[in-house]
């Protein structure tokens, strides 16, 4: 019972956290907390097999699937907290409270002493479960097998996307690029690389244009959506770095430094291969 009284508050709090978490990833992690706690409660309740299954299948497989999908859907798909259906939230809370209240009230009506599973688990919990699964529940068990196969096939069907146009090769892509340039004036080269400094060594720093302003094209869209763009280093900072390197303070130092920061922008530079792919995503 100690385990229960320790875990129960944690689980309730974590569940409430799912309710209030702004970010889906946080909700997923809180759900993991609930699930692992639950698995311990299974263990407490003489269900070692389910304990393992809960951790492996639920926490390990299903929840990871959630995280994968979250990743695919994109972290920039922010969940707005503004309620659009009038009265939905109020009614949901009221009905939820009533529901929980009535449920607990109903449960509180009875006080049953557990029979305990010592006898049932005498030959081992897993053996007992297996005995049931392959005797009384064998048809249900077979049905779940069919269900799982069907679900796998369904997921494949749903995820599959029919190719409607022929796949473009390198030559076609190059021709397309030049056509875009001719018709819309779109720059045919790769996007500018982010400003990379030895100090930061990070892609969240925008590159600077020759006039010192930021090149927005050099920043990943995902990072922009997350709002984790680092500020471009100002000129003083660059000066300081230059002095530390000991290259001397030329009159055109400022300009040179700026040029250096802009260095990745030119198509002639060697960064194309690593960064170019992003231009067409």
């Amino acid at each position: 019972m100690i385990a229960f009284w320790v875990l129960a508050p944690i689980m309730v709090l974590a569940a409430l956290g799912i309710l209030f978490a702004r970010k889906a990833v946080h909700a997923a992690l809180l759900l993991a907390v609930v699930m692992i706690s639950l698995s311990i409660l299974y263990l407490v309740q003489d269900a070692p097999f389910l304990f393992v299954v809960q951790i492996i299948v639920y926490t390990g497989a299903i929840l990871m699937l959630f995280l994968f999908v979250l990743m695919l859907v994109g972290v920039d798909a922010a969940d707005s907290v503004v309620e659009t259906i009038p009265g939905q939230r109020v009614m949901a809370v009221l009905l939820g409270l009533a529901f929980g209240g009535v449920l607990t009230l109903g449960v509180a009506q009875v006080s049953v002493q557990a029979a305990g599973l010592a006898e049932a688990n005498a030959g081992g919990n897993i053996e007992g479960l297996a005995g049931l699964l392959f005797s009384s529940y064998v048809f249900a068990f077979q049905a779940t097998a069919a269900l799982l196969i069907t679900a796998a096939l369904g997921a494949m069907v749903l995820a599959h996307r029919e190719r409607l146009t022929p796949k473009l090769g390198q030559a076609e892509l190059a021709a397309q690029r030049m056509r875009d340039y001719a018709e819309h004036g779109k720059h045919p080269g790769p996007l500018p690389a982010p400003g990379v400094y030895a100090r930061h060594n990070s892609v969240d720093t925008p590159a600077l244009l020759p006039d010192g302003s930021i090149s927005e094209l050099s920043i990943s869209r995902v990072l922009a959506a997350r709002g984790v763009i680092g500020s471009a280093s100002d000129a003083a900072d660059i000066d300081r770095v230059t002095r530390q390197i000991g290259r001397g303070a030329d009159a055109d130092d400022d300009v040179h430094a700026s040029h250096e920061g802009e260095g990745a922008d030119g198509p002639a530079e060697g960064h194309d291969g690593t960064d170019g792919g992003r231009s067409w995503t």
């Binding site: 259906i85 939905q88 009614m91 949901a92 009905l95 939820g96 009533a98 529901f99 009535v102 449920l103 009230l105 109903g106 009506q109």
Partner: protein, 657 residues
Amino acid sequence: MTVTMLTNALLVSTAGATEPPVVEPAAADGALSLLWLVIALPALGAAVLLLAGRRSDSWGHLLGTATVAGSFLVSLVSFIALLGRDEGDRSVGQHLWTWFEVGLDGRVFSADLALLYDPLSALFLLLITGVGALIHVYSIGYMALDPRRRRFFGYLNLFIAAMLVLVLSDGYLGLFLGWEGVGLASYLLIGFFQHKPSAAAAAKKAFVVNRVGDVGMVLALALIIATFGTVSFAGISAASSQVGEGTLTAIGFLLLLAACGKSAQVPLQSWLLDAMEGPTPVSALIHAATMVTAGVYLVVRSNFIFENAEIAQTGVVVVGTVTLLWGAVIGCAKDDIKKVLAGSTMSQIGYMMLAAGLGVAGYAYAIFHLLTHGFFKANMFLGAGSVMHGMNDEVDMRRYGALRAAMPITFATFALGYLAIIGFPGFSGFWSKDRIIETALAENWVVGVAALIGAGVTAFYMTRLMLMTFFGEKRWADEVHPHESPKVMTTPLIVLAALSVVGGVLILGNWLKDWLTPVVGKAEPHDLPVPVIVITIAITLVVAVGVALAWFLVGRREVPRTAPTDVSFVTRAARADLYGDAVNEGLFMRPGQRLTRGLGTFDHSVVDGTVRGTAGTFMASSSLFRRMQNGYVRSYALSLLAGALLVMVALLVVTIA
């Protein structure tokens, strides 16, 4: 006081009358077994003519005439065969087939198609096929220029067949079959000139008014089946004396209504004058000689019902008396030669109805007058047709005059018919009408006097017709060249004229009376208040007065070519058919239309309104409720949760309670 007296006087006393004879047909044998041919021949003719189409255009009229002539021959042979039988054995039945059978064992209602050939039907057969054949012959000439002549003969054959079914049937159901058949043929033939709106309207009018009478017929039929469990004359005549008088009175009045519709008696008289829109042979055959007398046949045939229903019989007398005066008055004012004759027909059928209503004493005379009337009225109608034929289809007598020289045969035959109808001594009409008036006077002096006056009026309008048509100055237009009709038309005229003259022989030695005794019963000799000869002289005097009056009012004066408008109220009323149409329109048509419109409005507003209102309510509520389907899966989930909560609360309440 006077009213009571009149009512008492009108109630015809039939106390002590003998029981009406029971119809007991014997099986047909010998020549009589060919009886069905009488109907089959014209029916076949009609089928061939109407189904063969244009292919039979060239010979159709000949076939139509031949079938009716053949029918007449069979009738004649049958009649001679019937003459050869004993008096008590003159009722012959021929069972053709069972039409339908309904009911379970014990209470089976079986409708048989069977023929009954007795002295009454024998006379009708001869009249219908004989006059019919003559009129067919006449029509060959009359319709010679009509491109639809073949169809006309098809309709005529259809009519003959239906009429024969009517008079040969052994029960009311078969009679009704023929009854509707002649109604259909009449409708088709009145509207034969269907391109004329007036003809189409007249046909429709005849059809509608006849339906009113048919309602009576159908109801009578239903009441008969409910009361007797059979429709055959034999079964009903055997059981009629055991049935309550109330029921018989109801049946009698319903049959009278049917007779009124078919025979154009007041109050269903209005269609007959309009029916003159049909071709003249039709007017002669259907609307003078045969179909319109079906009502008289019905009353006489139903003698076993009317003899036991005194009030209904009185009703027949009243209807007959009113109609004989009604038609006569109309006949006095009309300028259309066919309408004068139509009014006259109404009036003469009134005489027959009057006689038929007088009971056993009058039945034979009703039939006698029916036969003679069939002769002379067909004769005169055909004569009128002959006149029209020579006058470019002009019907207005004011455009005639002095035609006796232009068409001598027509004039001569018409004159013989004229003498017959006014009752010139020795002619057929003299004998028949005389007997009816005598009987009426003997049974009840009120109707007797009315019939006497009717005779005078008849003489007046017929003399007027003769004078305006054949005498006086010629008033026809210059482009009209009156000429005598071809032989094919004048021959039937001559035959019918001869019959009009000698038709009275049927009553010689009371032959007709004895002949019909097996059907209608033996009449007691009636005691007249004055000797017969006095009455005869009185009738002749009244007729003479009528003729003289006509001479003074019409013959001596110049007849204006257009009808004068400054005429007395009586003339105006008679020209308007005594306001029969006005009464019908005001009393039935307009209220009926208003009722229909009202019902239409009711249907539109209330019935449809209820339906539409219900639909509208549901539409409004559903357009409200469909807002719940807002597409948000979370809203649906919310209602799901609410439902689960409800279930749980219910469970909890049940558990705790």
